[in-house]
Every structure is written in C-alpha cells, then in structure tokens.
C-alpha cells in the first residue's frame, strides 16, 4: 500500500521509526495546515517557515510516544505548532503587527471563504474541522472572533482587546464564553 494511503496514526508511526516514505507522506499531508497556523500566529512567512520546520522536528522527536487518547494526530501536531509559534514570537520580543493576516484568518474561518479541505467535500463525511467551523459560525460573532484570534491567531487577551476595541475584561469574557459555548456544542455533537 502506498504510504500516502495510510491513515494519520500509521504515518506518524512510520515517522517514529524513520521510515523515509512515511516521513515524506506525513510532511506533505500536514505541511499546509502547519504552515497556515505558524503564519497565523507569527504573521511573518520567513519565521513561519522556521516555526513549521521546528514543529515537524518536535513531532518527529515525540512520534514514538504519541498518545491517541489525548487527541487526533492533526490536533496534536497543531498544538505543537502553536506552542512553537508562540515561543518564536516571544523570542523575538515583538508583537506581530500585520493585521492583514488576522483579517484573512477571521474571514476564512468565520465568513466561510474557501480554504482547501477545511470546508470539506460536500459528499464526504463531515470532518472535525467542518463541525467546528459550523459551531463557530452559529455563535455570537464577537465571541467567535475572540476565540479564533486567541486560539488560532495566538493573540493574548490584551491583543484581542486592542484589536476589537473593547476593554480587557470584555475580551477575556468573550474568549471564555466562546470556549464554553463550543464545549457545550461539542457535548451535543454525536
């Protein structure tokens, strides 16, 4: 069976034992997601490239101990990416200022712009991303924006507050309430 036909966990297992073909397939399968998240947090294509590479290196180091009870391979890898991106931004001691990246992020996630496989094929089963996007889009917009900015954009509550033009307390409340709503929706999803 070609490596590209293997499921995510099988590819990760291949990466763990330095299987060349599995590693190639793994990187190609996830590189657009990983780079997309790195770019969303750093707003800098060159830094995002470094961060995305670092995320794959960290994943390779940890592949042998991936625990599928704590999330899918996709969310595990993206969590590693998010942390690597936040580390990189902190190391630079500079706050990303290119708002166009966050504008694009909000438009893509909340307005339903085309995003590769995120919106999904109409005939395929709904993916976890599809389900999440549907829940985000039915939430009060200000809460959904706050959640996307904080989680995918890597913004602090202070940055959400400045960007949205609301007091810090309001920004925090929007993030927390938004996450709570998503969790409630999660529990209702079969």
């Amino acid at each position: 069976m070609p490596r590209s036909d293997l499921d995510d966990a099988a590819l990760l297992a291949g990466l763990a034992v330095d299987d060349h073909d599995a590693a190639v397939a793994f990187v190609r399968r996830f590189q657009a997601k990983v780079f997309g998240l790195a770019l969303a947090v750093t707003h800098d294509p060159a830094l995002a490239d470094d961060v995305a590479q670092e995320a794959f290196v960290r994943a390779w180091r940890s592949a042998a101990i991936y625990d599928n009870t704590r999330g899918t391979v996709t969310t595990w890898l993206l969590t590693i990416t998010r942390n690597a991106a936040i580390d990189a931004v902190r190391a630079r001691r500079a706050t990303p200022t290119d708002d166009s990246v966050l504008d694009g992020l909000l438009h893509t996630t909340l307005a339903g712009a085309a995003t590769g496989d995120v919106t999904g094929d109409a005939v395929t089963t709904r993916t976890e991303a599809d389900r999440l996007l549907r829940r985000l889009r039915t939430m009060p917009t200000e809460q959904a924006r706050a959640v996307v900015l904080a989680v995918i954009g890597g913004c602090t509550a202070q940055q959400v507050s400045q960007r949205e033009g609301v007091p810090l307390g309001t920004a925090k409340t929007r993030i927390r309430t938004g996450l709570r709503r998503l969790r409630a929706g999660q529990e209702r999803t079969p």
């Binding site: 969590t79 996007l133 985000l136 993030i175 927390r176």
Partner: protein, 223 residues
C-alpha cells in the same frame, strides 16, 4: 482566583489563560502544582484543552514555499555519513527510588523542608513539566529529603507502561541520568537523588522514554 495553589480554592478563570499558553514562570508552576492535586480543576483544564485543540483543527491551510518538505526531511531523517545524533554527554547513572507516595504529599514534603539549615538554596523551587505539545503533565521540584538534595518528579497522564530515565542538565552542561522508572497507571511521583552540590545548578530536566531515547516531557528552571 486562587493565589497560592490551595486545593480548597479553584483556579477558575485562570485555566483558560493557562491552556492558551498565556501564563509564564512561577505562576505557571504554581498552577501546575495545583492541577496535580485538584481533580476538579484538572478535569476543567482538560476540557478546555480539548476544546482548544478542536478549534485548531479549523486552521486555514496555506501552502509553504517550494522545497519545504525537503527542508524538514533533511532535519528529521538520518543522512548517510551523519555522526551519531546525540552529543557525547558526560553521564552519571544514579540509582533512584520510585516513591509510592501521594503526589501532593510529596510536593508538600519538599516545601515543608524549606527553611532548614542544610538545604540547597533552591529547595522548594518548582518547574512545570510539559509535553512536546505544551500540555502540562506534571512538575519537578527541588527538595531536601533527610538531608539529601533531591528532585521530586510528579507526573500525571504519562503514556501507560512506558519506562523513563530522568535526564538532568546542570548549568555547566553536565548531564546526570537517573532511573529507570515506570509510573503506575500513568501517574506517580519519583524521588530523584542529586549529586552533592548539584541542587543549585539544575537547569533542565527531561523525562526520556527508555525504549526510544526520546524526550516525553521537559522542565526548565530559571537560573
């Protein structure tokens, strides 16, 4: 908001900031300590982390520049003629005792001994133990047990059945290995003896899976 990590006061709103990675340094270690002993907060934290991970799945895709995959693969796959991937560290293997003591109890032992005359200066310092994805999986505290400098490594959510070495890097680059240790049911506490005089020099602590020699989680002490 709980300011001291008491199990009677829950972290509440702080948990979202913690899960988002917005809490640093001593506050993060304090909250990690609280989570080890408070099942209600731990459950709440795990729920929040689960939701955050779901949100990440909605990340829009952006293709990186041409050749990205080759750049990654050159870093993760052994190349022909490469030297051994790990540095030739100076190592000392120390015997270590796995302690079947309740985690909060051990942490309190470490703290209760702070203030006695023979303890290392850093006794009572606590650092969070984080998995590669940043999730809090335990704490490492520098302690003085029966007059001997030790670290107490407390873990939760360890992959079941795995055996670990504790790899401690001192400020001068010396690496000290202890173990192996297998936490029962993925959680437990481990008393790791330190060489004489090393307690003040601990910089980084890694829990390494013996079967793969790869790091499962790591803690960093500010020096």
């Amino acid at each position: 908001v709980n300011g001291r990590g008491s199990h009677d006061e829950h972290l509440d709103g702080e948990l979202v900031d913690l899960a988002l990675g917005l809490v640093d340094g001593p506050d993060r270690a304090r909250m990690a300590t609280h989570l080890l002993g408070c099942s209600a907060c731990r459950e709440e934290y795990d729920d929040i982390v689960g939701t955050l991970r779901e949100v990440l799945a909605a990340t829009p895709e952006v293709e990186p520049t041409l050749g990205f995959d080759a750049r990654v693969l050159s870093r993760v796959l052994p190349q022909a003629g490469d030297p051994a991937p790990r540095p030739a560290w100076r190592r000392h293997l120390w015997s270590a005792a796995a302690a079947a003591v309740a985690i909060p109890g051990l942490l309190l032992v470490g703290r209760a001994l702070a203030g006695s005359g023979s303890e290392p200066d850093r006794s009572g310092e606590i650092a969070e133990l984080a998995a590669p994805d940043g999730d809090l999986v335990g704490t490492v505290s520098i302690s003085d047990l029966d007059g001997r400098a030790t670290m107490v490594v407390a873990v939760i959510d360890a992959p079941p059945g795995a055996r670990y070495l504790c790899r401690t890097t001192l400020q001068d680059g010396t690496v000290v290995e202890s173990g192996p240790w297998t936490p029962s049911d993925g959680r437990g506490a481990w008393v790791v003896p330190l060489p004489d005089g090393a307690a003040d020099d601990v910089a980084d602590v890694e829990l390494v899976v013996t079967a793969t020699d790869r790091t499962w989680s790591a803690a960093h002490f500010d020096t």
